[in-house]
């Protein structure tokens, strides 16, 4: 789906999420992969964390390392959870692989007091450049698979995602884009620049009308 973590190093989006999450809170990590984020949040923020992961091997590895993870997927299983069951519902570099991103986002906002969504930006200059110059679907470090094997069914740009937030009535509390070097882009830069230079983005959202 996405390039695997380099061992011993945390992903920049994970570090940012760990910064956003309050200590001791209840967290649901949807698409938790090998559990790296849950482990980081447990270690640094003592969260009460749960995960959902589609790959059976990764679920078993997570449970074997002591994380509370179930085998399931975002499209099917989020409906089971009650409203406001968690302080944060996190979807980390997964939304582009869901069948119904809008429904998934609505569930995240319903289940968590806050939703944190990170995603690869399809508006990044590298992606645009590859499509423009080669006329073929882009393959980058973060989108490593060819189109016919990629699980990424719904890729979007930062602008697209901001539109979806408006459409679902989600309030953007914080939005951060990272460049290729993993550096945060300055918040003073306009959205168009984020959309061009940001290689991935992290949004923290609340339901409109919900008390933060």
């Amino acid at each position: 789906m996405l390039a695997p973590n380099k061992p011993g190093r945390h992903r920049v989006d994970h570090l940012l999420i760990a910064e956003m999450v309050k200590a001791g809170s209840r967290v649901l990590d949807v698409g938790c992969g090998d559990g790296a984020l849950l482990q980081l949040l447990a270690d640094t923020k003592s969260v009460d964390g749960r995960g959902i992961e589609v790959s059976r091997e990764r679920v078993n590895a997570c449970v074997a390392r002591g994380l509370s993870v179930i085998q399931g997927d975002a499209d099917r299983d989020l409906a089971d959870y009650p409203d406001a069951a968690f302080d944060y519902a996190i979807l980390s570099l997964t939304i582009q692989a869901t069948r119904h991103p809008k429904t998934v986002l609505e569930h995240l906002l319903r289940i968590g007091g806050r939703a944190i969504v990170s995603f690869p930006n399809f508006g990044h200059w590298q992606v645009r450049g590859q499509l423009l110059l080669t006329g073929r679907m882009p393959v980058t470090e973060n989108l490593p698979e060819a189109w016919y094997v990629s699980p990424n069914a719904h890729l979007c740009t930062i602008k697209d995602f901001a539109d979806l937030c408006r459409l679902t009535g989600a309030k953007v509390e914080r939005a951060v884009a990272f460049n290729l070097k993993g550096q945060k882009l300055g918040t003073w830069l306009p959205l168009t620049v984020h959309n061009f230079l940001g290689e991935k983005a992290v949004f923290m959202l609340t339901r409109a009308g919900a008390r933060p």
Binding site: D48, R50, R56, V59, N60, C62, V63, A64, R65, G66, L67, S68, V69, I70, Q71, G72, D77, D80, Y81, P82, A85, F86
Partner: protein, 401 residues
């Protein structure tokens, strides 16, 4: 079917009956004054619960693990069976340094109510008549088994169990424990089980019971008084059940169409095929260690199990407010308790935002996989228990390792 010396058969029955009346394991006796109120509304007393323990209970009694056994198992989870002389039924899982590590955990495994290895059941003597209970024994439920275990845990002075673990019918007891006594269960591991017994499973049990009852030596359940044993009936019941514990793949891998010590078919109804010979062996050895009436009562208890029905037909209600940490485990080739049924438990737990892990383990060994060497199962149980132990404040230090 049985061609063994009748004296040997009687000797085997004697050894088994001795365990009913004088179990080799520890036991507690619940007096007449403290009867168990059963789900059928009858009162049962006195009651004996036979049990084995492994490891040492710590000073604040926070390291106790209850293992609930399946239909035909017993308290000998990690030590030699006194009748068959075979190793414990889960020795790969339970012991020093094993996933359920007796170096730091105190493991309690009771024989269930209705069983035949020392706990009160239909083979026990009915104090009112001085004769074996037989069919006068009340019909019991999984909940009744759990209530009897509660008496044992009370007697041992344990307030909260660190974990309640079991597969198959043992898993049903785990779920019932968590539902009836949420504060007394810190963590729960239901393996290869379901929150209710399916129509297909009831059907298989009915075949088994009919086989027992159709044996003329069953004598309307009074065979013990009359010095008989419905061996053939119970053996057939076991043979049919045993098929449901395996998978087509596992049977094919193990036996295929191979003949048993033969160069060619015999054109008879002898056990030509290895699989026939294997099943006949499973049937006859089972009779040496199990009471036929116990088999009727325990299968009935499983059929009656429906945790949702006990909670207004909403399974999630059984777990509302639960602080227990759950680890649900299923196996890909288990068609007796398929993954779908484990997933229903997980959905109910998610609906109340309970702390749940759920692992489906790839195996072609069918329902029996939970009893076998499955490295992924071991890694799951070890990891889950280690994390739970940390949360529970149990020390990681091991003695002698």
């Amino acid at each position: 079917m049985n061609t063994a010396d009748p004296r040997e058969l009687l000797a085997a029955t004697d050894a088994r009956m001795l365990e009913v009346t004088r179990p080799s394991s520890e036991c507690i006796d619940i007096p007449e004054t403290e009867p168990l109120r059963l789900d059928c509304a009858k009162l049962l007393a006195p009651i004996r619960i036979a049990y084995k323990t492994y490891g040492t209970l710590n000073a604040n009694k926070s390291n106790a693990v209850l293992i609930c056994h399946a239909l035909t198992m017993d308290q000998y989870v990690a030590s030699e069976h006194p009748v068959t002389r075979k190793p414990g039924w889960w020795e790969a899982m339970v012991g020093p340094g094993k996933p359920i590590d007796t170096d730091r955990l105190f493991v309690i495994c009771p024989n269930i109510l209705g069983g035949c290895m020392g706990s009160t059941g239909p083979a026990s003597i009915n104090p009112a008549t001085g004769r074996p209970w037989g069919l006068d024994f009340p019909v019991i439920t999984i909940g009744d088994m759990v209530d009897a275990q509660v008496r044992l845990i009370d007697r041992l002075g344990i307030d909260q169990l660190f974990s309640v673990i079991g597969g198959s019918m043992g898993g049903m007891q785990v779920l019932e424990w968590a539902a009836r006594h949420p504060k007394r269960v810190f963590s729960a591991i239901p393996i290869a089980t379901a929150a209710w017994h399916s129509s297909q499973n009831i059907a298989f049990h009915e075949v088994g019971r009919q086989a027992v009852m159709a044996d003329p030596d069953w004598c309307q359940g009074r065979y013990l008084e009359l010095g008989k044993v419905p061996r053939n009936g119970l053996a057939v019941a076991r043979m049919a059940a045993h098929i449901t514990y395996l998978s087509e793949e596992a049977l094919h891998r193990k036996f295929g169409r191979s003949l048993q010590d033969l160069a060619a078919k015999t054109f008879s109804f002898n056990a030509d095929f290895q699989v026939e010979s294997y099943l006949r062996h499973q049937g006859s050895t089972f009779v040496d260690r199990f009471d036929p009436n116990s088999y009727l009562y325990i299968t009935r208890a499983m059929d009656y199990f429906d945790l949702a029905a006990e909670h207004g037909d909403v399974l999630a209600n059984a777990f509302r407010g639960s602080k227990t940490r759950y680890c649900v485990v299923s196996f890909t080739s288990d068609w007796l308790y398929p993954t779908r049924e484990s997933r229903e438990i997980v959905q109910a737990l998610n609906a109340v935002a309970a702390n749940v892990s759920f692992v489906e383990i790839e195996s072609d060994k069918g329902h029996d996989a939970f009893l076998l060497e499955e490295p992924e199962l071991f890694a799951t149980i070890r990891g889950f228990l280690n994390a739970a132990a940390t949360k529970h404040g149990l020390a990681h230090t091991r003695r002698g390792h």
